[in-house]
Amino acid sequence: MATALKNRSQPLPAQGLDEFGTLYRDHVDLVYRYAHRLCGETEAAKDLVQETFLNAYRGLKNFRGDARISTWLYTIASRTCMKMRRKRKGEPEHELSLDEFVPTSEGEFRLQIPTEGLSPEEALENKELRRALDQAINKLPKKYRMVLILCDMEEVSAKEVGTIMSLNERAVKSRLHRARLFVRRELSARGILDENDHKSRSLRS
């Protein structure tokens, strides 16, 4: 134990390197999938994977196994993503209020591209639907996006998401609910019509 503490700021010894090798081999796909969902594209996702494992490498000696390794890695990736994004652009972080999700016209109640009778895989073969879904998720303020991705895409429990994001379970559920309502609205006539309207205007000009 004492020797491990002494070596804290040094490169990992051979045994630590093996440990890192195993950590990387077993979890790089999970971290990449999460990173890709957070960033929405490959290059930024790879940058995030690199920074996440670099931070994990440095913290590996101090990881005591109190949390599951996946929870620990999700936490590092989430924090790293917050930091990287803050550096890149100071996108304003805004709160989502429930009021904005009350439909005001008929077309806003249902999804614009119907998915009834189709398996989710079949529905997602529709490129337009995939694009609309990705855009909706990317438009979410990041603290909501993270919760939605962790809970509904990575299928991490609300309790674990609370650990990852330092939130209580109730706050996680509240963010998740708003994030879902936001994405739903973007997939309803309102979101897609706004988008088409925007596109046809730019085609005409």
Binding site: D99, P120, L129, R170
Partner: protein, 101 residues
């Protein structure tokens, strides 16, 4: 516990939609509880109350279905896998950077 700043009480809503015939108060109450409802986290008496509202309010029924579909789509959205060459290159880059400092 946590501040509920953004949740507005029913009374503050303006201009009720004429389509919400079964009582707007119910629709708004439902909107707040929808995720808990579809995640099966509500007590059975509240679920029963919600189901009877859904029977009387077609718009809410359509709305809840669209929210369920949204969650299902999120759950099934695949991510392209990491290429083997990238996996190797990333590992090398991480170790190089880690040992450089």
């Amino acid at each position: 516990m946590t501040k509920k700043k953004t949740a507005t009480p029913h009374t503050k809503q303006t201009k009720p939609s004429s389509r919400h015939k079964a009582g707007r108060g119910h629709c708004l109450k439902l909107l707040r509880q929808l995720s808990a409802y579809i995640d099966g986290e509500l007590a059975s008496d509240i679920c029963k109350e919600i189901r009877s509202h859904l029977g009387a309010c077609p718009n809410c029924e359509v709305f809840i279905l669209s929210l369920q579909q949204t969650v299902i789509l999120c759950r099934h959205r695949p991510v392209p896998p990491l290429k083997s060459a990238d996996r190797v290159a990333l590992r090398r880059a991480i170790l190089k950077k880690a040992n450089a400092k």
